[in-house]
């Protein structure tokens, strides 16, 4: 089910060492009767420079998977290889430091690199510009809207200049227009830096818009049930017919999967109807 993944990688070079490799990874939370198998025997490769989108119903273990890859948590079984790559994780919530200004929050990503104060400030300004928050450096996180905070969090993740970018529903709180724009920016940066991206979303169209592959996780326990290669030429547009068509196929598969597990229908990821103005 998962062996030929790298070959499907949207025309990427294969035979390469994957940037991220999960082998038979399981994660159990808690112990004894109260234990919960969040991930079961997950195998997944992400090649360097590959953009992989992760889809699955709410609670199926997507965030868990990302924090395992990020090394914030240890798997209960199996292996995760990231081959000494630097990893940045954009959390599901913005996770900004409330005592720092927006700019200082982004600068924190540059601090570990040992850059000087001035250099840090200048770089932070560039990243804020990328997420279209150029004029907001001196504000505090609580003064921004939820979507703007997410963008600051994105700027911070990008500023880490990692090889692997893990993103947990990064654009969930954004309006369709801003989201489209950030898709373009993210695609550009991904190309420029040859990043490996693992991108969690509930939005099937978004997954098709961005991914080289869309990986479908089942719920309880989370398993990889299907791996859709997306071979549409880039640049893609979220509202194009081709994207809509492939998203439709994936959505059907996803529905079937959710039904099979008897999950509540309202937990089915939405089939991305652009909700813009």
């Amino acid at each position: 089910m998962t062996a030929p993944l790298t070959e499907q990688a949207g025309g990427r070079v294969d035979g390469q060492q994957p940037a991220v490799r999960l082998q038979a990874v399981s994660k159990t939370y808690g112990q004894g009767k109260a234990s919960l198998l969040a991930l079961d025997n997950v195998a997944l490769d992400v090649a360097p420079g590959e953009f992989v989108c992760l889809l699955g119903a709410s609670g199926c273990g997507k965030s868990t998977l990302l924090s395992l890859v990020a090394g914030l948590d240890a798997p209960s079984a199996g292996r995760i290889d990231v081959d000494r790559r630097r990893i940045a994780l954009m959390f599901q919530e913005p996770a900004l430091f409330p005592w720092l200004t927006v700019s200082a929050n982004v600068e924190m990503a540059l601090r570990a690199k040992g850059l000087g104060k001035r250099e840090r400030r200048a770089r932070a300004a560039e990243y804020l510009e990328i997420v279209h928050l150029g004029g907001f450096g001196r504000k505090r996180p609580h003064e921004l809207s939820g979507g703007m905070r997410q963008r600051v969090s994105l700027a911070r993740a990008l500023a880490q200049d990692a090889d692997v970018l893990l993103m947990d529903e990064p654009f969930g709180a954004l309006d369709a227009m801003t989201r489209d724009l950030l898709h373009d920016e993210l695609e550009r940066i991904w190309r420029e830096r040859d990043l490996a991206v693992l991108f969690v979303t509930h939005n099937v169209r978004e997954a098709v818009r961005l991914g080289d592959r869309v990986v479908l996780l089942s719920s309880r326990p989370g398993r990889v049930v299907e791996d859709f290669p997306v071979t549409l030429p880039r640049p893609r547009r979220t509202d194009s017919a081709e994207v809509a068509e492939q998203a439709g196929e994936i959505t059907q598969r996803l529905r079937a999967e959710v039904m099979r597990h008897g999950a509540a229908p309202n937990r089915v990821p939405q089939e991305a109807t652009p909700d813009g103005p």
Binding site: A88, L89, A95, M108, H132, H142, E143, Q160, D180
Partner: protein
């Protein structure tokens, strides 16, 4: 569509999202802060006058507000009062500063080192519940009737609160911020410095505020008990006012002690408010 117009549209959307913050004018706020206090003071004075008028105690035992306030005004014009005030305030500042230093070190160590936490964690809380006056016999044995005896007790009274504030702050650092710090490459000491310490600031400030209250109480107890010749202090004035049955003087000194306590507490309140505003922690205004 050009990305440029797009970007401008986003800027427009963002501007819409951010309603301009409005804060009332200085005068309005000052008035809003003053009138409840003025009212409360007036009520207390009225009640006091009523008790005096009831005549349960003779006037030379329990002076009325007018006599007391006149006496207070009198004292405010005398150099002696300021000498006493200076001595007391200097002790308060030195003692509190020492307590902060001790509390910080102890709090930092206890919050970081697990076995130490188990060993002295509850001891600190125990110390906090110990009435500071119970320390004085020991302090006097150790240091004699000296400045050191007073400072010793002030530090013992205030340091546990400061340490506990810090420990609680460290314990309740939101895990998501720890994880974020970890992802940004901070470990151990750098994580402590850049994430945990700043995150514990509100709790630390609360500890400081409580520590101040303990320090001020301990200091007054100390000054009543440890009277050093030629070193006038507020506590000493209180002591002698009782010896000399100087009721207005006694009450006037008590008012001074109360007012200082309130003022410093207000300072902490202001610091706390400023912090909350910066962090976006302020409550919804009902």
């Amino acid at each position: 569509m050009a990305a440029d117009t797009h970007a401008r549209q986003i800027a427009g959307l963002d501007a819409l999202e951010l309603a301009p913050a409005r804060r009332a004018g200085l005068l309005t706020r000052a008035w809003a802060g003053t009138w409840p206090v003025a009212l409360a003071v007036a009520l207390v004075l009225a009640a006091w006058e009523l008790v005096v008028l009831a005549g349960w105690w003779p006037e030379y035992v329990f002076a009325g507000p007018l006599t007391t306030l006149t006496e207070l005004g009198h004292r405010l014009g005398e150099a002696e009062f300021y000498q006493a005030l200076t001595v007391t305030l200097r002790r308060a500042v030195v003692g509190f500063a020492l307590a902060i230093a001790v509390g910080l070190v102890v709090g930092a160590l206890v919050s970081r080192i697990r076995p130490l936490r188990r060993a002295v964690g509850s001891l600190i809380t125990g110390l906090q519940t110990m009435p500071s006056i119970a320390w004085f016999p020991l302090a006097i044995l150790l240091f004699g009737l000296s400045e050191s005896a007073i400072l010793f007790v002030v530090v013992l009274g205030a340091a546990p609160s400061v340490a506990n504030g810090l420990i609680a702050g460290v314990d309740y650092t939101p895990p998501i911020l720890l994880r974020a710090g970890h992802m940004l490459g901070f470990r151990r000491l750098t994580l402590y410095r850049h994430v945990i310490l700043p995150a514990s600031l509100p709790s630390f400030l609360a500890g400081l505020k409580q520590g101040w209250a303990f320090a001020w109480r301990s200091l007054m107890a100390g000054e009543l008990l440890v009277i050093i010749a030629n070193r006038p202090s507020l506590g000493e004035q209180l002591h002698f006012a009782r010896e000399l049955a100087d009721s207005p003087g006694l009450l006037a000194t008590m008012i001074v002690i109360l007012v200082i306590g309130i003022l410093v507490d207000r300072l902490f309140g202001l610091a706390d408010n400023a912090l909350r505003r910066r962090w976006g922690l302020h409550q919804v205004t009902a």
